[in-house]
Symmetry: D2
């Protein structure tokens, strides 16, 4: 059932965002955070692939005087591909500047 | 499209779980936490109804010596109903004792 | 020992910030979130008083097109008073615009 | 002032716990999570050293049928050393089985 794959893709993106927003981030640990975030998605049921990227430019813009900042919605790109009973769905999380919102989009085959 | 409603329902459950797991909880503040968690779901796009319940019995079983504990997956029941372009989907989060897992299920019309 | 009270005050502020940053917030649920956040601090060991306020003006400025936003560091004010073995310490969390940082300050008697 | 160092050590442990509890964890990603968690502590002000360990035995005991579980308080050991104006303080987070609590202890020189 296509809906199940879509549902599972949604779960993963909602989980990722709310687990990791707030994490201390800088150019120094962005890569290790990306890997940790990806590893968490890959553990979850039905996931076949995942990609997480932290926007270094945004991080730089928001650096505090202590040289790091909190991870926020406008810094995260994520893509997760799930497969449930042969049906695939891909979810993408990407900041939407116009809506000022970390928009999650569904791509189905 | 049915899948979109399913996707959105998934997002809400994943978000709820990963935002609130870890919150200090006891019998004293379980009700206010339920209300706060519900209020967060209701703000999100496409949500038409939501219900959140914290299992007091589980909370009691896990109370630390300081008389509260961390909110964990086996204490949360949540239900969210979304509507996207006329299509409805309901997602339910409930602890599955056999799988030792906070299972999220999709109910479509 | 004064240090213990200071340590405990620090724990509470670090916990509050990282538990609740990312929560969906708008003018509609800011009050219930404040109450829930306060209730969580009050459960923790040695706390004698707590205050949490969400800056509505900042929330308004960051509202997405979906009419809510994620709770961020520049929207939270919190104050926690702890007492350990007769020693008191107060911790305050407040956004520092100059440092672009959710600064936590210690006030001891 | 010794209290400031204690306060800062407390902040770091409270932050770590509430940011990362709930993260999907298994034997596969425990090491990368430890590194990511440590990297987050090291970014924060006044920190001179940090150590984070995830208890693999506990993870194994709580594995769900999907072969991972949520990171919980009884799986985390953390140690953070801070220095403020020449004063040092070390905070340790370790599960206390008797109190059923993720106890945070202060060690000052």
């Amino acid at each position: 059932m296509k809906e199940l794959a879509a549902f599972e893709a949604g779960i993963k993106l909602g989980a990722l965002f709310h687990q990791f927003v707030g994490v201390p981030v800088s150019l120094e640990n962005a890569e290790i955070l990306e890997k940790a975030m990806k590893s968490c998605i890959l553990l979850q049921p039905y996931v076949v692939d995942a990609d997480v990227r932290i926007d270094r430019k945004r991080v730089l813009e928001k650096l505090s005087r202590f040289n790091y900042c909190s991870l926020e919605g406008d810094m995260i790109f994520a893509k997760v591909e799930v497969e449930v009973n042969g049906f695939r769905a891909t979810g993408v999380l990407e900041w939407d500047e116009e809506r000022k919102y970390p928009l999650m989009k569904l791509i189905t085959e």
